[in-house]
Amino acid sequence: MSNSPAITPETHTATEHHEHPPFLLHHFNSMEQQNDTSSFAMWLFLLTEVMFFGGMFVVYMIYRNWYYAAFVAASRQLNVAMGGINSVILITSSFTMTLGVWSAQTKRKGALILFLILTFILGFVFLGIKGMEYKEKFEKHHVPGEHYSLQSFINPASDAEAMATGTKALPLDEAVHTELFFSLYFAMTGMHALHMIIGMGLLLFIIFRARSGAYTTGHTAFVEYFGLYWHFVDIIWIFLFPLLYLINRH
């Protein structure tokens, strides 16, 4: 983002020297224009992200429609408890992020840092739980590719999760389609996790800058836009969770 609060050293011509807030970048006429513009830019960027995830959602909807039984069986292999906890964590982190933005806007530096750190921790826990889920999938040979195993689906008796959720055995040709579910599961949650990791990298940067008072002196743009990004990542998860974890659960 180009809205760093540092003053860009540029020459002023005689006619141009005027009083302006230190955060005003020289190609803008007023803070109002600058804020208006950068806010618009951020929303537009999020729109491109919607198109990106949207593509994957479309692929998901098509295959779910074609292979519903396989998707149900595969979805039941996912741990709803972990997914649910993750959802709560992420929503809470959105809440702490909002509080962080409020702190920046009301110039509360301590509170800002606290809420940013909380958000970071929550994000970290989310990724940790996600990692645990991935590990579980790896161990059960549900990672698509060479080592993918259909055992859990053609022989539910061999599988604890399948027994627990009362999943019936699938015929072989249907069971093959469970790999598609897991492909989409890993692709979509993987992309989501990637966005979270990038977000957490940015969070660290923001925490570092916040400590030197960068966002509590009136120029809160960067924190606000990061907040938008974080909420967007949260919303994607809110769609992913029911679509992936809650297919035909009772």
């Binding site: 039984a69 699938l170 015929p171 072989l172 040709d173 249907e174 093959v176």
Partner: protein
């Protein structure tokens, strides 16, 4: 000049003898498509002429020397309407005409004879129902509707016969169809037109259109001795399909006699027409094609059977009308116009149930 001109002359002669703007018209649909193409060319020429005329005449009339002061004109709603409505009208005409031809090409008539084509890197295999197999060529009779059922064994290929003006993609995983009726005996180009890897340019061949008499001779000479359906019957037994799909009252699978073309009710409640695609799918993905009233116990044959094998099975099932014995004869004379609908009794050397 003496050195150069023979070369140029040679090229000119080559060009003049081969000069053509359109391929030969060798199918019934070809002149219809050419008519539309001609219309499109005409409209394009007129459009281009109009644009060129406008630009040239305005450039001459209003060049600075002749017209030093420009007159500022905002626009003209009438003109805008004109050049919106007229092109739109023309395009919509083309749309309707083109849609009609498109539907015609991809809606085979009921009496079309079927030839299977399997594309693979980098050759075309044509399988006639009578057991004639061709590689990179296709023999068809003139004056008869021929449907091609295409599939690919690997990547996308496209079966193109420019002289017939037909082309259809051969897709891995499902059948596609196209039909034509050849009119003029002769040999025509066959191309693969979907880029498919290294030898894409070599995946070419000949379509040979023969007179009905000539075609009969060819069928008799080129048969492998076993029709597709007979091959299918052999596979049906060797894959133990007859363990469940037999005519016994307690059979675990539905009887397949006369199933081709019929409307089935599936276990999900939906209805499906048992065409070639359905038959193929029910062999490879049976659990999604269970007939109502039967248990979903059929195993999948994905990976155990080649596309040619599936074709043989499909042909076998298509021709079943009673007790699972292949009724076809060896020389498939019952596929020709004069013997349509006639079933000839089984010849010797047939595989028994």
């Amino acid at each position: 000049m003496d050195r150069i001109s023979p070369v140029i002359w040679q090229y000119l002669v080559k060009w003049m003898t081969n000069f053509a703007l359109f391929p030969p018209e060798a199918s019934k649909i070809a002149p219809q498509m050419d008519a539309l193409l001609f219309f499109l060319v005409l409209v394009s020429l007129i459009g281009l002429t109009v644009v060129i005329l406008l630009v040239t005449s305005f450039s001459i009339l209003y060049r600075r020397k002749r017209h030093p002061v420009a007159v500022q004109i905002e626009g003209s709603t009438l003109l805008e309407a004109t050049w919106t409505i007229i092109p739109l009208g023309l395009f919509l005409m083309m749309f309707v005409w083109g849609a009609l031809i498109y539907f015609r090409v991809f809606t085979p008539p009921a009496n079309a004879m079927n030839i299977y084509v399997v594309g693979k890197q980098w050759m075309w295999k044509a399988e006639h129902p009578g057991g004639q197999h061709e590689i990179n060529s296709l023999h068809v009779p003139a004056g008869r509707a021929v449907q091609l059922t295409l599939i690919s064994q690997d990547v996308f290929h496209s079966f193109s016969i420019p002289a017939f003006r037909v082309k259809r993609e051969a897709i891995p995983g499902r059948y596609t169809t196209v039909w034509f009726e050849a009119t003029t005996p002769g040999t025509y180009h066959l191309f693969c037109t979907q880029y498919c890897g290294t030898a894409h340019s070599q995946m070419i061949g000949d379509v040979v259109v023969m007179t009905p008499e000539g075609y009969k001779h060819w069928l008799a000479e080129s048969t492998s001795g076993v029709s597709l359906a007979q091959n299918g019957e052999r596979l049906f037994a060797s894959l133990s399909c007859n363990a469940c799909h037999n005519a016994r009252p307690d059979a675990r699978g539905p009887s397949l006699a006369n199933v081709y073309g019929s409307k089935l009710t599936l276990s999900t409640g939906q209805t499906a027409t048992a065409d070639e695609a359905y038959l193929r799918e029910s062999i490879l993905n049976p659990s999604q094609h269970i007939t109502q009233g039967y248990a979903p116990i059929m195993p999948t044959y994905q990976g155990q059977i080649s596309e040619e094998g599936v074709i043989a099975l499909v042909e076998y099932i298509k021709n079943l009308d009673s007790n699972y014995r292949v009724q076809q004869t060896l020389n498939t004379t019952d596929l020709l116009p004069e013997s349509e609908g006639k079933k000839v009794p089984a010849a010797q050397g047939m595989v028994k149930q």
